[in-house]
């Protein structure tokens, strides 16, 4: 837990764990402004709970990303392409019939 100290750096450690939790997203994506980032990291330097929280939060994001499948199932690919080709063919035939009727 972060302690509030009386040093000249007091402002840097004024953030609570709850506030730090709310900044995790922006910290991870490196979008905190330099002052807030410094406060964030100062808090981490004295708060092992928030360090653990940050690590498990990041791990969750990475684990979520790992559910991604790298390739399309072959059957799905085949089915979808067959569907698209059939529909495009139908449009072409429709246009031909339509054109034929106009020309007559």
């Amino acid at each position: 837990m972060a302690k509030r100290n009386k040093s000249p750096d007091k402002a840097l450690t004024d953030r609570t764990c709850k506030q730090i939790s709310g900044l995790l997203n922006d910290y991870i994506s490196n979008r905190l402004n330099p002052t807030v980032k410094r406060e964030f990291e100062q808090h981490l330097s004295i708060c092992p709970d928030c360090v653990s929280f940050l690590k498990t939060y990041k791990k969750t994001m990475a684990a979520t990303g790992s559910t991604r499948v790298p390739t399309l199932p072959a059957k799905l690919r085949k089915n979808v392409l067959a569907f698209l080709r059939k529909k495009m063919r139908q449009i072409a035939v429709f246009l031909l019939v339509f054109a034929d009727q106009i020309c007559r």
Binding site: V51, F53, Y57, K59, T60, L72, A92
Partner: protein
Amino acid sequence: MMSGSEMSVMKTISGRSPQPLRSQKSPRSIRRLAQGSTKASDQADVIERLKSGDQAALETVFAMYSVKLYNVALRILGDAADTEEVIQDVFWTVYRKAKSFQGNSQLSTWLYRLTVNAALGKIRRRKNNKAVDYEEYLPKFQADGHHAVRPVIDWSDNLDEQYSKYELQELLRKALDELKPLDKSAVVLSDLEGISDKEIADTLGLSVSAVKTRLHRARLFLRGKMAVHLGYSPA
């Protein structure tokens, strides 16, 4: 294949030559895109070709984006059959409505938007939609803003030791399925596809700050589910 006279008839009607069903040779821009080019001029070219009804252009877009869109749809829906329908509908919509694509956003944003909307539409039509309360899995804080349960355990290293990759993925899939559909969409676009908050906001029709809020709560919920599964407090 169409005969020469058939092509000629179609040109008379539509004012442009119909594209053959199977292009014999893809233009360079399409080949470059298929090989992963991100050049704006190549993208603009493939969109123009799509607008003219070029099948090769559609197949290039399919080759480029089908895996991405499949992942998005599958994780939002959690069901293989529904996912196939969504992917099919999305690419058919791309072909039919290419002319309506103004180019104000990236092609990828349009494709993600079509996919997410189709997937969310399917979820809305399901009768067994369950509302999940996140609260139980969110961290708790004392009145002074410090963690309510201490020490907070760092289980990040245990995860890989205790679970095989498959078990971990199953755990995450189940937890993802409990997220609210819009939150799940944001997490999938961000953590699976690595899309920026701004592009997610454009895709979902939300403000960037709303996306950030949804992402954060959803990730806290997922983290809490993982912690509880491992026998720890979500706090």
